[in-house]
Amino acid sequence: MFNNMTLSDSAQQEADLPGSVLLIIGMVVVAACLFLAMSLVQFQSTDQPLVTLVVSNLEQSGVENPVTAVLLNFRSYDTLLEVAVLLIVALAVMPFSLQDTRLPFIKVSEPVERSLVLEAFLRWLLPAIIVTSGYLLWTGAVLPGGAFQAGALLAGAGILLLLAGHHSFNFNAPTARLLLVVGLAMFLLVGAGVVLSSGIALAYPVAMAGMLILVIEVAATITIAAVLVLLFCALQIEPLGPQPNRVEKEKHS
């Protein structure tokens, strides 16, 4: 099933499964889906207790956007773990090198080929994006939007910067590490800190809830942006620092 994995288009034909097997898989999948759909259609939804619960507790959550309330207050634990997921992925794809730890996070260099249009564009766009993401973050408390969206936007800015060719990021730098963990760290800090006042982990005092959520969200945004940029960087092997496998390759050649 998963033994047939290829990377290139050309090999695709050879590695494909025989038609009969495909047919069987298809029939099974269709049957399963039909069953699922049928049972879903037959089911008569009755009540949704959580709808009222969310609305009724929204005031105590510190924010007005119910989604943000769920994410960062009612079910903040999920979000905490989600940030951890991001950290895992960041660590997994991070090109690591012990030499790079002393180099700065952002390195400015002359690009191989300059694109004046892009540079001019960036000069305008970057601040705008940063401001927009700040806005998204801020309004996340009230309107749709929040840390994830803001983080994604910010990441977009970073990627653009990267594409322009003037800058490159070194994620082994201490600053970069800090950026990667700040979201999780802040979340944990706040989550544990509130124990002092409320006695329960992650239970914000109502009065401070809004502020605390914002703090967490800011940190989370930074982390999300950093991680997303990192993800993008990881797929661009060439512009980044030396990879372990590249070192090997050099040895070979």
């Binding site: 994995m5 290829t6 590695a15 499964l17 898989i25 119910p66 994410l71 989600e82 050649s253």
Partner: protein, 95 residues
Amino acid sequence: MTQALLYGVFGIALFGIGLFGVLAIAHVVKKILAINICGVGVFMVFIANASSGAAPDFVPHAMVLTGIVVAVAGTAMALSLVVRINALEKPEEGA
């Protein structure tokens, strides 16, 4: 047939398409695409069900948001592995 139900069925269908794709297609990147399609299908079922009542239920929205982030994280990880395997597979080309 209500809107919610319609999207629910579409979601299941998307899940099915993705599932078939994962199982049947050999190309890894496409497998990854198929998994993402699966994910979208699941998210759609979530959202469709959330809107089946009078007012939208926001808890599933939050869950889907989390799910999307997790999905992209997984995808990124898979892609980075693909790239690394590719680099190892073609050493002379990469160098």
